[in-house]
């Protein structure tokens, strides 16, 4: 689905600077305008349409990787995603390591890395296959059309992350609702605070119960290791739950929709193309213009002088469609050798759960397409409700028949 070229200039903010193009016109492609920026000015001053913050927008693969790997760019930032909350430097809650820099970030990350290794995730394969098969059985029993998002794309990663953490799946409705508000760019700070507080209170109760009787799942193991306070465990659990719900779920929903529009690629995924998950991650880049960083000192990037205190924003989608990354980057090709894409980020914060995500995507998409060889969308693409203003791209629902 190549996007239509845009003829009109980008709208300018009050400062006279052009705005960061945030809106996708095609759900599968980066917002129009980013490709031109990447070619002409891969690092450039722009203003956030939502909160009016001025920042450096970075769009080339090389510069995005340099920025995200450079410890002089801080991750301790909040805001930027809603009109009322401008981008600002924050003091993260203990345990919320996604918003921390070295050495605090490394301390938490290293307590978790052993739980997410390639080998450890591969040992989950039979259990993930079972979860997927059960959801497909349930789908088969429903009257058609079936909403693929509600019945498959969301429950599969929810079941997997709840089981991995040791959270009761009965609580999923609450987790899912809270996660949705937290990544909604139109939610007010009050709504986000309320969702975070509600989820934190719920998790605090669960963690208190596990302190009494730690089980063998991740939270229980972290409790037994004994290095974390309850407050830290709440923040870490919240981070892993939200990340586990929203990312893989949207990759499954939007990824299926994309494949339904590329029948040749769909056939290759059904046959088990080994690189499909990474190519879908690269092509869709569902986490895009939310990678904010703040310069901790004066530095130079791509020939631009950045002053301490200035903000930067990496477009992962633009970087992933950079002709410098791979041949014909706007073509979906699930047989491509794995690229050095940045869909999972880059630098020390690169997605902790990436090998779980790869496994879930591979197992779930292949099983779905094998179970329902005649799978098709029940509505035209224009009628599929796309998540607007969400920090993570995807579709709200996807009615399918077979």
């Amino acid at each position: 689905m190549p996007s239509e070229p845009v003829a009109c200039p980008e709208p300018a903010g009050p400062s006279g600077l052009s705005e960061v193009p945030l809106r996708r016109t095609c759900p599968f492609d980066p917002p129009p305008g980013l490709a031109e920026l990447r070619a002409a000015e891969p690092i450039t001053r722009r203003v956030m349409p939502l909160d009016g913050t001025e920042l450096w927008l970075v769009t080339s693969h090389d510069l995005v990787r340099r920025m995200l790997a450079d410890p002089r760019w801080s991750s301790s930032l909040d805001g930027g995603l809603s009109p009322e909350q401008p981008l600002h430097v924050t003091q993260p809650e203990p345990g919320m390591f996604i918003s921390m820099d070295a050495p605090e970030h490394g301390r938490y990350r290293r307590m978790l890395t052993a739980h997410f290794t390639v080998q450890r995730m591969n040992r989950l394969r039979p259990r993930i296959e079972q979860i997927v098969a059960e959801r497909l059985d349930a789908m088969e029993r429903l009257p058609r059309p079936v909403d693929l998002v509600a019945e498959f794309a969301l429950p599969v990663p929810s079941l997997v992350i709840c089981e991995l953490l040791g959270m009761p799946y009965e609580d999923r409705a609450e987790f899912q609702a809270a996660a949705r508000v937290i990544v909604d760019m139109t939610a007010s700070p009050e709504q986000i605070d309320a969702a975070v507080a509600g989820l934190a209170a719920h998790l605090a109760k669960l963690i208190a119960a596990k302190r009494e009787e730690p089980d063998d799942a991740l939270i229980g193991e972290l409790i037994r290791e004994g290095a974390l306070t309850d407050g830290e465990l709440v923040q870490i659990s919240m981070l892993l739950l939200v990340a586990g719900h929203e990312t893989t779920a949207n990759m499954l929903g939007l990824g299926t929709l994309l494949l339904l529009h590329h029948p040749d690629q769909l056939a290759l995924v059904r046959e088990g193309a080994p690189g499909a998950a990474d190519e879908l991650l690269r092509y869709l880049s569902i986490v895009d213009l939310v990678m904010f960083r703040g310069a901790k000192e004066d530095l130079t990037l791509g020939g631009q002088e950045i002053k301490a205190g200035e903000f930067g924003l990496a477009s992962l989608a633009a970087a992933n469609r950079d002709p410098a990354l791979c041949e014909d980057p706007d073509r979906l090709d699930v047989t491509r050798p794995k690229t050095a894409h940045v869909a999972l980020g880059f630098g020390p914060h690169q997605c902790l759960g990436q090998n779980l995500a790869r496994l879930e995507l591979e197992i779930a998409l292949q099983a779905l397409l094998r179970r329902f060889p005649g799978l098709r969308a029940a509505v035209p693409l224009e009628e599929v409700p796309v998540r607007e203003n969400a920090a993570i791209h995807g579709v709200h629902s996807l009615p399918v028949i077979w």
Binding site: R110, A340, L352
Partner: protein
């Protein structure tokens, strides 16, 4: 690196490693992740020629540039 079969020497930095597992995915014969801490473990510092492409891919995909191939 002109000659395809020129020897390579692989080194890893466990201090900067963030345990993403990109190297273990790219070249499982050469890299794995410790069961203890999830960080990189180098299995073969001088891999044979047929693995040179894979170790270079591991070097280029490592998010913390903790793999060096010389």
């Amino acid at each position: 690196m002109s000659a395809v079969d020129a020897a390579v020497e692989v080194t890893v930095n466990r201090e900067s490693c963030c345990g993403a597992g990109q190297c273990a995915l790219a070249a499982p014969e050469v890299f794995t992740q410790s069961e203890e801490d999830g960080l990189v473990v180098l299995l073969d510092p001088n891999p044979p020629a047929e693995l040179h492409d894979a170790v270079r891919r591991a070097e280029s995909h490592c998010p913390t540039r903790s793999v060096t191939v010389r």
